[in-house]
Every structure is written in structure tokens, then in C-alpha cells.
């Protein structure tokens, strides 16, 4: 083998790639961080809530306050999960001063917010700068077309570099942090293509709103933020949901639609987005807000079962490319898992190179570290939630039943009151789905949460 151009080539300057590149450069390895946008973040889009504890553990200078330089928007102190029907909204509204801070594991995380809202055009360049400060060489505006492989001793392909613009760039190890589509690992036949039911398309708009109006509308103190998750008629019943997050002077609003359900629905993604954006029950938050950007991004919905193999001969896979997302039903995570996996990948790849073994065996320490981490434990804890969300209950029948029970309780129409238990039984009977489905929903809910 010819001498490599770099010890490590990291593909993708998102949270996973930048954190991997930073750790590798801190270990005095030569690292190239290749990004297809002209500037990191240009190609990236997320709903927008980051749980920053793992990032602040790795970077103690992570800003605790929303100063102009801080790469985040608002501290999330209020989480609202709502079932939206054409005429009603039923919500779990959780606000807690304890969310202003989290203790984290390093002890140095005083006043670190539990969760912050982010816009990727600000977060991702900040992360990539940390990698550059550590000594990684950022190569922006370059699309990597494929992995360069050679047949290994056992016939399986061994990754020896990357190919971009017809040029080969050789590296001892490649870190594929190339996002949810992960063309690199799939193109080399190393990871399977996910099924449409394991993917959802996120369609998002950023809407401008002055800070004062935003705080009034969402019931917030200055600088504080809210995260709303909505399900039901907001997506016209298509499996998935909607989100509404507060930034400094804008809102992030979008829908997430499972590809199999969307294809069956007879509607298009932009029709469902339009339906959500103009939904009468959401007008109190969105009215008069002007769209300043429209975008989309795929989301992996398979949870733990979608992760699979993450270490190969000369290659590790991190972040969205490794399917690292969690939807617990209440909490949606991805960026914090990407950050953890990038940090662990950086450490493990450095150790493998120092030990002179960049084979799948040598790089297995990354897979082991990921499994042993809190991120790995959380992936396993919520391994069964995707099965719950494959059931139709969350997208219609549950919200309809809740509406019947609450309407029967609150709406005094002159008729004698019926006890809550009767209202509940009647709501289940009239729901249009059989008792067996309700029992199945209850069992899936119990197993998954």
C-alpha cells in the first residue's frame, strides 16, 4: 500500500464528523474533514432541539448563555406534546425550572441548559471551527463520490480512502459521517438500504417573528424557549407528526412524514406541510409569521434495529449515517447521539491507528464504546418505540378518544353527566378500531416506554 495522504479522512462536517475530526486531531493525527457544502451547515437541516450535555462535556467552553457568539438559540424550559384534531387540541404541557440547567457528568456543567434550540447554519460552523482549531484540515465544497476499497485478506472490501472529483485520497481510516443517506457505506455494499417505513421526510420552514411577540405567544420569559410536538390532524392523519420550536427571532415549524404512510395517503409532502402550516388550531402561534426559508431532510425512524454494524475494515460510521436517532414518543434526539458517536469514533480510531490495527477487529473498539455509552444504552431502552409508532393508534384513534372523553366531561349540554369510565368505554367503542387493536396499542405502549 502506498503511503496514505492523511491518517484519517472524515466525510461530512456535521456534528458527528466535526467531533470525530476534533478528537483525532487532538491525538496528533493528520485529519482531513471533507464537506460538500461551501461552508459547514449549508446542507444540513434539523428540527432543532439539541440536548447539549455530551457536547459540553467534550467542550467545556460551550457557551452557557445565548450571547451573540453562542451557536444556539433559546433554552427550552417548556415541552408541549399535543394531539391535534380539526376542532380540538389535547396537550401534555410540561414546564420546569429544573430544565434551565442540567448537571451533566463532568461536574463542570453548571448552568448548562438541559436542551437548546438550534439552527444548523450557526451550530455546524461552530463545531467545525473546533475541529479546525484542533488541527483538522477542512476541505469544503467537495462531494465525496465513493469509498476506495481493495479486497482484504478474507475477500471482504477493505476501505483505503475516498474518491472525490475523480481523485483518490488515501487514508488509514475513513469516518463516514455523511448523513442519513450515507451513500458511502451503502455504495460499498457495507450497509443495507433502509425500508421506506423506517424513514420519514422532514419538511420545515423557518418563520421570522420578533422576540417579544414570540415570547408572548408561547408564554415564555425573555431568552427562554418552547418545544412543541404535535400529532394527529396536523399531518392529516399521515403517520408522523409536526414540530414547532422557538428560536431567538424565528420559529422552526415542520412536519415529519413516514415515507410508506405518505405514499399510501394519496397526498404529497408539500400538501401535508401546507395543511399543517394553515391548520386553524395552530393559527394562534403561526399567524402573520413570514416564511424565510423552506427545506427538507430525511429522518431515520428505525431506532436501535437500524444501527447494525458500524465498524468495518478501514471504516467507521457515525451519526445519522449509523441510524442514531431516538423518538421516545416525548423526546426526539439525533444531534446529541451524533456528537457522542463522533467523539467515540475519534477516540477509537486514534487508538486503533496507534495500535497499528485499522481492521474491523481493531476498529471494533468503536462499536463497543458506542454500545457501552449512555447513547447506546438509550438506543436500547427505546428499541421498541418504533413498533408502537408503526401502529395507527397514535395518529388518529387515541386523539379522537381523548377528545370524546374530555368533551363529554367539560361540555355541559343539559343532559345528565356520565361518569368518566363510561365516557372512556364509549370513546373506545365509537373509535372505529376494534378492542383488539386497543389492547395491542396498550401492550405496545407498555413494552416501549
Amino acid at each position: 500500500m502506498t503511503e496514505p495522504d492523511f491518517d484519517v479522512a472524515v466525510v461530512g462536517a456535521g456534528p458527528a464528523g466535526s467531533m470525530a475530526a476534533m478528537r483525532l486531531a487532538q491525538r496528533n493525527l493528520s485529519v482531513v474533514l471533507v464537506e460538500r457544502g461551501e461552508r459547514p451547515g449549508e446542507k444540513n437541516l434539523s428540527g432543532g432541539v439539541l440536548y447539549p450535555a455530551p457536547l459540553a462535556d467534550a467542550l467545556p467552553d460551550f457557551p452557557r448563555d445565548p450571547t451573540p457568539e453562542a451557536p444556539w438559540e433559546r433554552r427550552v424550559v417548556r415541552h408541549v406534546t399535543s394531539s391535534v384534531r380539526p376542532d380540538s387540541v389535547t396537550s401534555l404541557d410540561y414546564e420546569d425550572a429544573a430544565l434551565l440547567t442540567t448537571t451533566g457528568s463532568a461536574g463542570s456543567t453548571a448552568a448548562l441548559p438541559n436542551a437548546v434550540t438550534v439552527l444548523r447554519a450557526r451550530l455546524d460552523p461552530w463545531l467545525a471551527e473546533r475541529a479546525q482549531e484542533a488541527g483538522a484540515f477542512l476541505m469544503p465544497g467537495m462531494r465525496v463520490d465513493s469509498l476506495v476499497t481493495e479486497p482484504g485478506p478474507d475477500g471482504a472490501p477493505r476501505v483505503t480512502g475516498i474518491r472525490a472529483d475523480g481523485q483518490d485520497l488515501r487514508a488509514r481510516v475513513v469516518v463516514a459521517a455523511d448523513g442519513v443517506n450515507s451513500f458511502l457505506a451503502r455504495g460499498a455494499g457495507l450497509r443495507p438500504d433502509p425500508a421506506p417505513r423506517d424513514l420519514a421526510v422532514g419538511v420545515k420552514a423557518v418563520l421570522a417573528m420578533p422576540a417579544g411577540r414570540l415570547e408572548d405567544r408561547f408564554g415564555l420569559e425573555p431568552g427562554q424557549g418552547a418545544a412543541h410536538a404535535l400529532v394527529g390532524d396536523v399531518t392529516a392523519g399521515v403517520a408522523g407528526g409536526a414540530f414547532l420550536y422557538t428560536n431567538r427571532e424565528s420559529l422552526s415549524f415542520g412536519v415529519v412524514l413516514r415515507l410508506d404512510a405518505l405514499t399510501r395517503s394519496g397526498r404529497s409532502a408539500h400538501e401535508v406541510f401546507e395543511h399543517a402550516l394553515t391548520h386553524p388550531r395552530l393559527r394562534r402561534w403561526l399567524a402573520g409569521a413570514e416564511v424565510i426559508e423552506y427545506g427538507s431532510h430525511l429522518v431515520s425512524e428505525s431506532g436501535h434495529t437500524g444501527v447494525g454494524q458500524v465498524a468495518f475494515d478501514g471504516l467507521v460510521v457515525a451519526g445519522d449515517a449509523a441510524g442514531l436517532t431516538i423518538n421516545s414518543g416525548l423526546v426526539l434526539r439525533g444531534m446529541d447521539l451524533a456528537i457522542t458517536s463522533g467523539l467515540l469514533a475519534g477516540d477509537a480510531v486514534a487508538e486503533a491507528i496507534e495500535a497499528g490495527d485499522a481492521s474491523a477487529t481493531g476498529l471494533h473498539r468503536y462499536a463497543a464504546a458506542l454500545q457501552a455509552s449512555t447513547a447506546g444504552a438509550d438506543m436500547r431502552t427505546y428499541a421498541r418505540t418504533p413498533a408502537l409508532f408503526h401502529r395507527p393508534g397514535p395518529y388518529g384513534p387515541w386523539g379522537e378518544a381523548a377528545e370524546r372523553v374530555l368533551r363529554g366531561s367539560f361540555r355541559l349540554d343539559g343532559a345528565p353527566r356520565r361518569p368518566l369510565r363510561h365516557l372512556a368505554v364509549q370513546a373506545v367503542r365509537r373509535s372505529g378500531v376494534g378492542l383488539r387493536t386497543w389492547v395491542g396499542d396498550a401492550a405496545a405502549l407498555w413494552r416501549s416506554v
Binding site: E42, T263, E293
Partner: protein, 91 residues
């Protein structure tokens, strides 16, 4: 497709740098086929449309999410060349 549909108005807020080479080749799709209906349904940018028995793609409006490829593996689709395509200023 009218120029004034809601999706077109919203796409007007997003910045694009058009690649001189199209990164989408829909020639393997037939109009009316399940794959053609699926790519039209899942694309948030309304990139795909049917003309006669063909499927055409307006690659310049592509948001690069990859939803189309996930539902139609026969589609020719990859990211546009480095430095071109969608440029999110918010994300």
C-alpha cells in the same frame, strides 16, 4: 405546474446554486407507475412531474433530502456537485 403554487412561493425563500449538470435522472421511471407516484408524493419541493408517459425532474429546485431515492431505488439520484445545490442559511 403554475409558478404561484404555495410550494413554489416558499422555495423562493431558499437559496440555490444551480449545478450545470443535473444530479437527477428520472428516465427509468414511467408515468403512472407506483414508483413515479411515490416520488411525486414524497418530494417536498415538487421536483417531479409527469409529461406523457415520462417523468421529468426540475433538479434546480431539489432540497437534497433523498426521499425520492428511498421510495424509488431505480431513480438516478445523487447529491449535486460540491458547492452547488441547496444552500441553507438557517437550517
Amino acid at each position: 405546474m403554475s409558478e404561484r403554487t404555495p410550494v413554489n412561493l416558499r422555495l423562493g425563500t431558499t437559496r440555490f446554486v444551480t449545478d450545470s449538470q443535473s444530479h437527477i435522472d428520472p428516465s427509468a421511471l414511467r408515468a403512472g407507475s407506483p414508483a413515479a407516484r411515490a416520488v411525486i408524493a414524497v418530494c417536498p419541493a415538487g421536483v417531479y412531474r409527469e409529461v406523457g408517459d415520462r417523468v421529468l425532474a426540475d433538479a434546480a429546485a431539489c432540497l437534497e433530502c433523498g426521499a425520492c431515492l428511498a421510495v424509488a431505488p431505480d431513480l438516478g439520484w445523487h447529491y449535486p456537485r460540491g458547492g452547488t445545490g441547496v444552500t441553507f442559511r438557517q437550517g
